[in-house]
Symmetry: C2
Subunit: 308 residues, 2 copies
Amino acid sequence: MSARILDGTRIAKEIREKLAPRVQTFAARHGRPPGLGIVLVGDDPGSEIYVRNKLRAAAEVGIRADLERLPATATLDETLRLIDRLNGSSAHDGVLVQSPLPAAMGEDAEQTVFDAIDPAKDVDGFHPVNVGRLVQKRDALVPGTPRGVIELIDHAGIVVAGARAVVIGRSDIVGKPVAMLLLHRNATVTICHSKTRDLAAVAAQADILVAAIGRAAFVTRGFVKPGATVIDVGITCVTDPAAARAIFPPGHPRLADFDKRGSVVVGDVHPEVAEVAGALTPVPGGVGPLTIAMLLTNTVKAAEARSA
Amino acid sequence: MSARILDGTRIAKEIREKLAPRVQTFAARHGRPPGLGIVLVGDDPGSEIYVRNKLRAAAEVGIRADLERLPATATLDETLRLIDRLNGSSAHDGVLVQSPLPAAMGEDAEQTVFDAIDPAKDVDGFHPVNVGRLVQKRDALVPGTPRGVIELIDHAGIVVAGARAVVIGRSDIVGKPVAMLLLHRNATVTICHSKTRDLAAVAAQADILVAAIGRAAFVTRGFVKPGATVIDVGITCVTDPAAARAIFPPGHPRLADFDKRGSVVVGDVHPEVAEVAGALTPVPGGVGPLTIAMLLTNTVKAAEARSA
């Protein structure tokens, strides 16, 4: 048996294709496209890639996306002033600050900055008002990754109501919100984490298993009930040859990739799970593309709500 | 075997006794006691009892509590104006609106009213900002009942970290926040509800079982792992003699109470669970008294924070 692969790239494309006419309608009605302001502080190489992908995806559907850069030496106050300007800008319906902020800004800087974003423009859904409204099952801007997980499950026609769902990971960005979204769709939801005992046995009760812990290939065959749907949120770049060889068997095409590039992107789910799961999201090409598609959806939603 | 009974009345008394000197210190420093404004719209008999209990408990610890009444014919606007006045009042550190509002006010009135309370004075913890901050594990005003559940567990010396906790019920007021509080204390948490399949089997995995569904004596022996801690949040007033006799065996003292008064207060947990559980909260006298104690604690906390 081999799992059905849930193609996030294809679904993200469908979502963008449905979004484009909404963007056009908005632009025709308001004389401007929906606008997204992206704040990038410093020069983290990973952030550069993420931001570039967001800018490109926005442009593809006709959303205006402006990159606002601050140097790595910027202060928290300068960052807050920039957010304030974007909050007040009539051209920007969405505002996001690319994580992480420079460490020099202090430990609480990120939450301070997220709190400063107008909740109506908070397209990343990190403001407590949006977190609270999500928990209360009210209209809210919901973070892109958990929304993407639900889109993948829905597009695959997997029944959530009555299912046992297990979420491994309890981050504010993925674990907790995805647990709430599954709960609101009537799954019986268990949240696991680093302190969970017998994690594999708990996970193996799941009809729907969401892995969001950020540990490469952590979820092995023993974590998965045969036939379960497995959603892999993790993205780890493996550069250690021994680690890569421990994950992929000799002759595996991903191992050939590794030998060519010196690195390979691996999810939280071990490749052997494909032999047990009923459905499985690949990494890359699973949840990742959905995250950006849902960010764009949030931007259009915020634009429509702001001008309604 | 017979479960250890977790005496909420005693613990609530301890909490109030610790609170009284904090109230005195505040009053000495600020020339006024912490103040709580309670809004009661209409004349629901249950609400009258709840409000009276809150007023009395506040007075006992030295908190000033003012009851602000509106007639059952009051409009939503009138209610919002009253909240606005209490939000602006320097004598009131906490504001709460007794639920339920008159049905005539409309379906969304309650959330509209809760949203209107200044989050810094939201001692019931129903404002989305406080819900969001709770989920984010930040300082927040947390609803009294879930906070009371945690106090009961802590006072009993029950270890939460690593335990499997199952919460039956997913309300905004109890189920979801208690799940979050248990998660933040490193329990592995499962949230069950009316759509959960094999509910008894799922519940029986719990080391800590929280019943918050509002169905009298619903949780029977088969739901409980021997030795588990069972927290009973339900309060149902049973007036049907057949129902009372189905719950309590002949000769049970609670049945004698029923025969005397024509009603008996029953929790979500069946009395037979006392023979299986390791620890159990009674109804009445378990979670109930804690709810009000935590409301008072929130009021003092809000007062201290506002004047800090």
